[in-house]
């Protein structure tokens, strides 16, 4: 076993980046692991039923997976795919977000209109908070003070004080809000509305919608443009929004809040995840069963990688051996 290890080290010498992209396959009950060095599926391992959101611990050594039909958040060793244990998660966990402390997990329980807060280390439920119907999107502010969840049928963003674990406010947004993403400075929250066909930009201080971004694609009827996943570049200059059955990802200039490009990807694109360094991002395409790799500077799709059936969420970590500080996730918050 020494030789292959040396070989890996040799490959890693120099500036070559290496990431692993973990993709949840909703229909197959598996996770596919893509190696960014050659964009091959390095391995696939089984997880619980109907896996959706997934995210990494800050050190990349634990993978959390929402197995929504198993009513569990699974903690998995990402190197081996071995299930370490389940976390108490509440019924039907759909998406979650890990707080900056690396241990407080906010979980959206879609079927029973609650957010479950779990201490991932003590494996203990800290609170269950009543929110609107069908909570889905979850995000924690970069300073860890606020958590938000979006409720798909109530059509609101619910604000949770992360210290007291109380719902403190609700902001109405467009129909069927699905995903929430804080900007790195924590001042702005981006929320997609799948049926409304818009993205709401919310000022966190006032909790008011300051801008509603609409989309228009020539030759695609407006109601096929259904925003779901959102990813922001590290410099905050660009937002990428997955537009569902329009099979496009929109690139948005965050300063002018105008769409600069529509990028054709696979069919029914759910989520997007940036790779560290920001040169590339990946999309999960539910109907075509693949992942599209986008060149973030050229705003072009450069390749597609076949994964399992109904790929949904994606999370990124440095490949073992490559020392990179953090992973980023989509469909699971960060």
């Amino acid at each position: 076993m020494i030789r292959p290890a040396l070989l890996v080290l040799a490959l890693l010498a120099g500036p070559a980046r290496a990431e692993e992209i973990f993709v949840s396959n909703e229909r197959d009950n598996t996770v596919s692991v893509i190696d960014s060095r050659d964009w091959s599926v390095a391995r696939t391992f089984p997880v619980g039923r109907r896996p959706r959101g997934l995210t990494f611990s800050p050190d990349g050594r634990r993978l959390y997976v929402c197995a929504s039909d198993s009513d569990a958040v699974q903690v998995i060793d990402p190197d081996t795919g071995r299930l370490l244990h389940d976390l108490p998660s509440g019924e039907d966990p759909e998406q979650f977000a890990l707080a900056p402390d690396g241990r407080t997990l906010f979980i959206a329980n879609e079927n029973n209109a609650t957010t479950t807060v779990v201490d991932a280390e003590a494996r203990r439920v800290l609170a269950q908070i009543d929110v609107g119907i069908e909570p889905e999107g979850m995000a924690v502010s970069p300073d860890g003070a606020l958590a938000v969840t979006t409720s798909e049928t109530t059509n609101m963003v619910h604000w949770i004080d992360a210290r007291t674990l109380q719902a403190i406010d609700a902001t109405p947004v467009g129909q069927r809000p699905r995903h929430a993403e804080f900007t790195r400075d924590g001042r702005t929250l981006w929320v997609s509305s799948e049926i409304g066909g818009t993205v709401s930009v919310i000022d966190v201080a006032t909790r008011q919608v300051v801008e509603t971004i609409a989309f228009e694609i020539k030759g695609i009827s407006a109601d096929r443009i259904q925003p779901v996943g959102i990813a922001l570049t590290e410099d905050g200059a660009t937002a990428f929004v997955a537009l569902g059955p329009s099979d496009r990802v929109a690139a948005i200039d965050t300063r002018t809040r105008t769409v600069t490009a529509y990028i054709l990807v696979g069919r029914r694109v759910w989520h997007v995840a940036m790779l560290p360094g920001g040169r590339e991002l990946v999309t999960t395409n539910g109907v075509s069963g693949d992942v599209t790799v986008i060149d973030a500077a050229a705003l072009k799709a450069v390749r597609s990688v076949k994964v399992g059936r109904y790929p949904w969420g994606a999370a990124v970590r440095p490949a073992p051996g490559a020392a990179r500080p953090e992973g980023r996730a989509a469909g699971g918050g960060e």
Binding site: E110, Q166, I168, P172, Q175
Partner: protein, 418 residues
């Protein structure tokens, strides 16, 4: 959810005393504890308990034949259970903006005057009505409903969306022509365009058959032959093999379409045609507003909530009942207002859009009050397609390829050109 159903906390209420449930036992303790002892949930909110926006569900009970083949009968609470779920959903949402909704239900026996139910309604301005066309028109023409919005969840009659339309009478259930258009779009897409039509004796059967004929003309399909079948007097268990062979014999065809709304013979026609052809229409491959196999677009969530409430699968009229109440509560929530006049104006305006677990924003057509919506084409085992089917285009929205478009509708009660 149980903790929140008793009262509807407002936004500030949540800020002040929102509940974090640590565990079931703790939640119970909190509920029983002194701070939460009163059903209203404590003094601070009692004074601000909002006046509910009243919705009245009115249903005409219909006697139906016993289903064939030991199939379950149409549920007694069809439509009603949907409206109840709509109320629960509406209140779960409304509490975040300080709104509350109430639902009164009246079930009128066959032969009794449906209009009498209105006097029990305490002047509700939103009437969700599950009744035949004649009842709807009688209600709509009463002076007492002048300021009401009536939402039709049970009558598929095209005439109600055409020359018999009424201002403020909205149709949540798809009309027969929308159903037929959905089915024929799929047939055209598959190039199964030669149709042999078998029609039952009922007035609804005739209307369904007529809708199929119109759709065939609209989308380039062809009715190659027609026959009729009356199941009365025959025991299908004995005679099906022989009799169905006779009525389904005809020129070359791709499908056998059946118009049998009461299900008096259609279920037995499947796999019993003269030629090996699929049965489509009221049985076999059917167009419907909703059905048990529907699961895309988060329908699974709605199906699960309904099954929990009603202990059975959700049908088209249940969906329409849910959708009608959801539309009213959603309009109020968007306005953050329980003012019935404001809610009515928004519902009838072209600004109003609402989700309905069908993958698209739904809205009411300005020319006849029909809710524009996708229609599923399904059989009990699976959804085969959701119409509008790919390739059927419309300059406004593809959804308007289903049913009467503005120039085709004789309805003028909504102001015609809007």
């Amino acid at each position: 959810m149980e903790t929140s159903r008793g009262r509807m906390p407002t936004r500030s209420d949540l800020a002040g005393g929102g509940r974090a449930r640590v565990a079931a036992a703790l939640a119970l303790a909190a509920l029983l504890g002194p701070a939460h002892a009163a059903p209203e949930g404590g003094a601070p909110t009692q004074a601000r308990q909002p006046t509910p926006l009243a919705i009245h569900y009115i249903e005409r009970r219909v006697e139906r034949p016993k289903p064939l083949n030991n199939e379950p009968p149409v549920p007694d609470d069809e439509g009603r259970a949907g409206a109840q779920l709509g109320l629960a959903d509406g209140n779960a949402t409304g509490r975040f903006v300080g709104l509350r909704f109430s639902l009164r239900t009246s079930v009128v026996e066959p032969g009794a005057d449906l209009r009498a139910a209105l006097t029990e309604g305490e002047g509700a301005r939103f009437l969700v009505v599950n009744a035949p066309a004649a009842d709807l028109l009688a209600l709509a023409d009463m002076p007492e409903t002048r300021d009401a919005v009536i939402l039709n969840v049970g009558a598929p009659d095209v005439a109600l969306r055409d020359r018999d339309c009424r201002a403020r009478l909205l149709h949540v259930l798809p009309s027969r022509d929308m159903l037929a258009d959905a089915l024929v779009q799929l047939l055209a897409h598959k190039r199964w365009t030669r149709i042999l039509l078998v029609q039952g004796p009922g007035a609804g059967d005739a209307a369904y058959a007529e809708a199929l004929r119109r759709s065939a003309r609209k989308f380039g399909a062809r009715i190659v032959a027609e026959s009729s079948f009356d199941a009365r007097g025959a025991d299908l268990r004995d005679s099906a093999l022989r009799e169905f062979a006779l009525v389904t014999r005809g020129p070359e065809h791709d499908v056998v379409a059946v118009a049998d709304e009461a299900g008096e013979f259609g279920p037995n026609l499947v796999y019993n045609t003269a030629s090996p052809r699929p049965v489509v229409g009221t049985q076999g491959l059917s167009p419907a507003a909703w059905g048990r196999p529907v699961e895309a677009w988060a329908a699974v969530q709605l199906q699960a909530r309904f099954a929990k409430l009603a202990q059975r699968p959700m049908g088209p009229v249940d969906w329409a009942g849910w959708m009608a109440v959801h539309a009213v509560t959603e309009a109020a929530t968007q306005l953050k207002s329980a003012d019935p006049e404001a809610v009515r104006r928004l519902l009838l305006s072209d600004r109003f859009e609402v989700g309905g677990f069908k993958g698209r924003a739904l809205s009411f057509r300005a020319w006849n009050g029909q809710l524009r919506q996708p229609v599923f084409v399904l059989w009990p085992g699976a959804v085969v397609a959701a119409a509008p089917v790919e390739g059927f285009l419309h300059r406004r929205t593809e959804l308007d390829t289903l049913g009467l478009d503005a120039p085709e509708s004789a309805c003028r009660a909504f102001g015609g050109s809007r």
